[in-house]
Amino acid sequence: MNPEEPAADRALVVPGGSAVAVPIVVRNELWSAADPAAYDGGRQSDITHLADVEASGLARRDDARWSGLLEVIPTKADYVLDLLRANSLWPLLSGLACCAIEMMSAATSKNDMDRWGMFPFRASPRQADVLIVAGTLTTKMAGPLVRLWEQMPEPKWCVAMGDCTCSGGRYKRSYSTIEGIDRVMPVDVYIPGCPPRPEGLIYGMMKLQQVVKDRRGQWPDRAVGPTVPTDV
């Protein structure tokens, strides 16, 4: 491919709003059920459209697509992607202070965040989706932390764990701390507590999953590039 070619020429052409796109049908020629009677013996379902489901009264229109009554699941690719993103949030393994211990506690046997798809903790920002800022952010650490945030690939989310990161907490009056990390980076979920219990962190991460699914996160609106002045 010619690298000089403008990007717009290669972009996917989307039909207009009123146009009906021809569905892409992928035939299953690779796999067949062991029992020939399974899945209704491969028969076509009587119900083929959402309108039929609604008319039959078996499910409301909102539930119809997941009800199993249809052979296909009509949806948007974005919706599926968000579902995947929300259920495999990979946090960055970056603890700053006290809250980091409770973050680890949330990840280990007793609380086990893995059950809700908030695992594994990645040590590299290149592989992480969520930055859980756990602990007091000092002026000296602010630069490296923002650099970590900038190194994470989009889409990404930020969780402020603990009072220190939400507002400064018990160190608000200190000369060397930053009163809330929202001064240096966008935050999606705030979890108060000094430190919050592991259950609190898990609750906050579940809220974040809802944010991801609802597309309410900060990342679509966020300008690309450094979000903080260079002298922080």
Binding site: S105, G135, S174, Y175
Partner: protein
């Protein structure tokens, strides 16, 4: 090409052209200023075949936000330069602007794994300033909760040390122990980590039913449980061979480096503040001060595990000897000690915590100096790590068990 403008359509972050224009990704090991001391000039002058490598401040195994610049010759660490201050919260200054009761909540998050010990030494120093007699029941409760906290701290040490040597399982086990103990202490104090429980002249609350029942449950199987956890590591050939002979320091070196606590006792010096300069009710309690003579990482690990058993002994005696009575001395709401100085030292899980407080007669300490063992132990890292491999640096640092909150204060 020019840098992307902030207005108009934004290019995708995945576009490599955007990444090229941005000055991110490299943490320069060399400081941007000319060397300020002879030591800096020596360290940042590279010999033949040497290179500098930056590690941290965000590194999964530095136990917090420590940054270390390593000077390497091949894979050998020739020298290193720790860069501190990434968690400096100005606690000592905050304490000077808080009254004596508020100081307790300010010093709590210093060593966040063993918060009760951070409270303990200032509280004793203030009691000396005020000349208060603490009720005996309060002293017993302090010892009881403190020893529980020591076990929680040592249990976490076991998991982290193994994690830095590459073992993933022990940390799961150690967090099970730690979670049980902190839930128990939460029933007593109301918080899981930063307890804020000790008061000047006593403790905040008396023993309650939930704490006692959780403690009874745990005590009935604690020894067995900890023994079974230890078999994970003590009989593991890989772990023992890796940790033995790693980061050896002799008695003279440890004393020169001002080591205290388990790190000093692992070199054969039976110095324990609880015995050497007794405080609280420790003279009435029967426990041993374990020592080892090897002075390597394995000795420091085994010594801490031995201390867990001694702590269980102390807890058992506390429960049997616990007297009745008040848990707080009678004190005015506003504390104004007479002008003077007080020093108090206690034995924490990492070594000697001590506080030097100066009162000028007002309701706030004029100056409060906190001596923290983590900071003192971190200075010996340079001695221990020389001519070790990169992979061993974190293991040696983990065997000293520093907590960055205490290092940077």
């Amino acid at each position: 090409m020019t840098a992307p403008s902030r207005t108009g359509p934004q290019p995708s972050a995945d576009d490599p052209r955007v990444m090229l224009d941005r000055d991110i990704g490299v943490f320069e090991p060399v400081p941007p200023y000319p060397p300020r001391t002879e030591r800096e000039a020596e360290f940042y002058t590279l010999g033949d075949g040497q290179m500098l490598l930056n590690m941290g401040p965000q590194h999964p195994s530095t136990h917090g936000v420590l940054r270390v610049v390593l000077k390497l010759d091949g894979e050998k660490v020739v020298d290193l330069d720790p860069v501190l201050g990434y968690l400096h919260r100005g606690v000592e200054k905050l304490c000077e602007n808080a009254d004596y009761h508020q100081v307790i909540s300010q010093v709590d998050p210093l060593e966040y794994i063993s918060s009760l010990f951070c409270e303990w030494s200032p509280v004793i120093a203030f009691e000396k300033l005020l000349d208060v007699d603490v009720p005996r029941r309060a002293e017993y409760i302090r010892v009881l909760s403190g020893e529980l906290n020591r076990i929680a701290s040592h249990a976490l040490f076991m998991g982290w040390f193994a994690l830095d040597l590459g073992g993933l399982t022990p940390i799961l086990w150690s967090f099970i122990e730690r979670d049980e103990i902190v839930e128990m202490l939460a029933a007593l104090t109301g918080q899981r980590m930063l307890f804020n429980y000790f008061r000047i002249g006593g403790v905040n609350g008396d023993l309650n039913h939930e704490f006692m029942s959780r403690l009874g449950d745990w005590m009935s199987r604690a020894t067995k449980q900890i023994e079974s956890n230890l078999t994970l590591l003590n009989q593991n050939e890989i772990f023992v061979r890796r940790a033995r002979g790693l980061g050896v320091i002799d008695t003279a070196g440890a004393l020169r480096m001002c080591m205290t606590g388990p790190n000093l006792r692992a070199t054969g010096v039976p110095f324990d503040v609880r015995r050497a300069h007794p405080y609280s009710v420790y003279p009435e309690l029967d426990f041993d001060v374990p020592t080892r003579t090897e002075g390597d990482s394995l000795a420091r690990y085994l010594l801490r595990m031995e201390e867990i058993k001694q702590s269980i002994r102390i807890i058992d005696q506390c429960l049997h000897q616990m007297p009745d009575g008040p848990i707080m001395a009678k004190l005015p709401r506003l504390l104004r000690p007479r002008p003077g100085r007080a020093y108090a030292a206690i034995e924490g899980p990492r070594g000697q915590y001590s506080t030097y407080a100066i009162s000028d007669g007002t309701d706030q300490p004029f100056r409060m100096r906190i001596h923290d063992p983590s900071f003192i132990h971190l200075q010996s890292v340079g001695v221990l790590m020389q001519n070790n491999l990169i992979a061993d640096t974190m293991a040696i640092m983990a065997s000293l068990d520093p907590v960055m909150g205490g290092v940077d204060k």
